[in-house]
Amino acid sequence: MRYLRLLAVQLRASALLAIQYRGDFLVDGPISLLWAGTSLAPLFVAYKNPATVVEGWSFGEALLVTGWFLLLTGVLEGAINPSLVSVVDHIRKGTLDFVLLKPADAQFLVSTSRFEPWRMTHVFTSILIFVYGFVTLHRMPSVPGIASALLLLLSSTLLLYSLWILTVSAAFYVVKVDNLTYLFNSLFDLARWPSSFFQGVLRFIFTAVVPLALMTTFPAEAMLNRLHASSLLFAIGGSLLFALLARLVWTRSIGHYTSASS
């Protein structure tokens, strides 16, 4: 209950900050559309012949994966990156002290410290892509399909967040991690296409070790009603396991924190 109230306070602070920069909304919208173009243009070219089916994915179906990629990019850039970039900053400057002194869980405080609501533009763009995908497929999404897709949205977000926490924990050991965000984003680019497009070693790495590819493929399959219940359970269980691991690593590494100024 107390943490919910805290979350509300933090969200309000971010919202107020965002309203100060409301002009950004007008700029971020078109930019989000342009970046959506970088995912869509290759698909348009690859599916020049509309009847093409690549590794079990038709054009409309592949569009859904792209939509999920954009949606999760929005979540990553709007809700996960900003807070965690500021943690790295705190660690480097030694100001994490002030966070640790507060009478609440440090991981909770740092993870909710900053949101960038204007990145919601990615979410709107992705909804447009979903609509376009389903129109191309001449069908409607089913209610259980959408429900399980939403469930997977939660588990994918949790997974992304845990991967980020794991990366940030590295900042306690090696302080220079400025361009870690950039690296993380470019690794996330691997989730652009359906996981079956990958072959060999890469397929193993990005589905079994770091399940990046599944984060976008599973929800798209769920929307198409072709995800097995066992995969759904696997995704949810896997993300919970990752979250637990991230929590353990975080509590261990925070023990290594030495304030920079003392």
């Binding site: 700029v27 971020d28 078109p30 930019i31 342009l34 970046w35 173009g37 970088t38 243009a41 290759p42 070219v45 690859a46 020049k48 093409t52 089916v53 690549v54 590794e55 220079k176 400025d178 361009n179 870690l180 950039y182 690296l183 984003n185 470019s186 690794l187 680019d189 691997l190 652009r192 296409w193 079956s196 497009f197 990958f198 072959q199 890469l202």
Partner: protein, 267 residues
């Protein structure tokens, strides 16, 4: 700042830049690891070409193309726009103005002095390319090598000058980084970094021939995997160097007009 004194200071500037590159090597490796796009795109195109070759590209052609894309990206990368934006905001540009050297020249040397380190990274990829796709793809006649060399230099020239133009805009407007973001997204689509330009429908291709994007990355890649006849390659090269000239004039003009407005914040 006479031309002679500028030229005389070039070796020193390069040495400083190289030392910097060595000092920040770990950071550079992170940047290199972050160049995942060619890999991401290869996954898509190889999956597509498994169904049927597309636009004259088979699986092996795509492999050669995207390995070359990685190499070209390493060799011609430029980050002057971010640097200029940062220096204008922080006011540290004032330090550069004090030197008896044209500031734009220092951005160029900073870029170029990273080249030796980048060659070290490129070498194993090039070896892999020769083993995986065979040397047949690489330029083999002397003329092809010369064209490839000027195409790559020109590619860097276009990217660097576009960076300077956008960087100079930091002197006029506030959000140049958003502008850079928009430019990057467009360049990703039209430059051939994601989609070989030859795969676009004809009409769009004619449009792309007139835009600067293709000449930044696409053309150096195409020359690297020798997709053009010599005559075609030369005409494309001419267009590329036209863009270098146009952008050079634009960047100089923007700089002259912009710098008179510059106020060193917190100087």
């Amino acid at each position: 700042m006479s031309l002679r004194s500028s030229i005389k200071s070039l070796p020193t500037l390069m040495k400083v830049g190289f030392a910097e590159a060595v000092a920040y090597r770990a950071e550079m490796i992170v940047w290199v690891l972050a160049t995942t796009m060619p890999l991401v795109m290869y996954q898509l195109w190889s999956a597509v070409s498994r169904v049927a070759p597309i636009g004259g590209y088979g699986k092996k052609d795509f492999l050669a193309y995207f390995l070359a894309a990685f190499i070209v990206r390493q060799l011609t990368g430029s980050w002057a726009a971010w640097q200029m934006n940062f220096e204008v905001r922080q006011g540290t540009l004032a330090m550069k103005l004090l030197r008896p050297l044209h500031p734009l020249l220092t951005y160029a040397t900073e870029n170029l002095s990273y080249l030796p380190m980048r060659l070290v990274i490129v070498a194993p990829v090039l070896t892999a390319m020769v083993i995986l796709v065979g040397p047949g793809y690489l330029p083999h006649t002397p003329l092809q090598v010369v064209i490839w060399f000027f195409g790559t230099v020109g590619g860097w020239g276009v990217i660097f000058l576009i960076n300077l133009c956008i960087g100079c805009m930091a002197l006029f407007i506030k959000s140049t980084l958003k502008f850079m973001d928009a430019y990057l997204a467009m360049s990703f689509v039209f430059s051939g970094y994601l989609i070989p330009v030859e795969l676009f429908p004809d009409r769009l291709r004619h449009l792309i021939d007139w835009l600067p994007f293709r000449y930044t990355i696409g053309l150096p890649i195409e020359l690297f995997v020798t997709r053009h006849s010599d005559a075609e390659a030369l005409s494309l090269l001419a267009r590329q160097w036209c863009w270098v000239a146009i952008l050079f004039v634009t960047a100089t003009l923007l700089w002259r007009r912009g710098i008179s407005k510059f106020e060193a914040y917190g100087g």
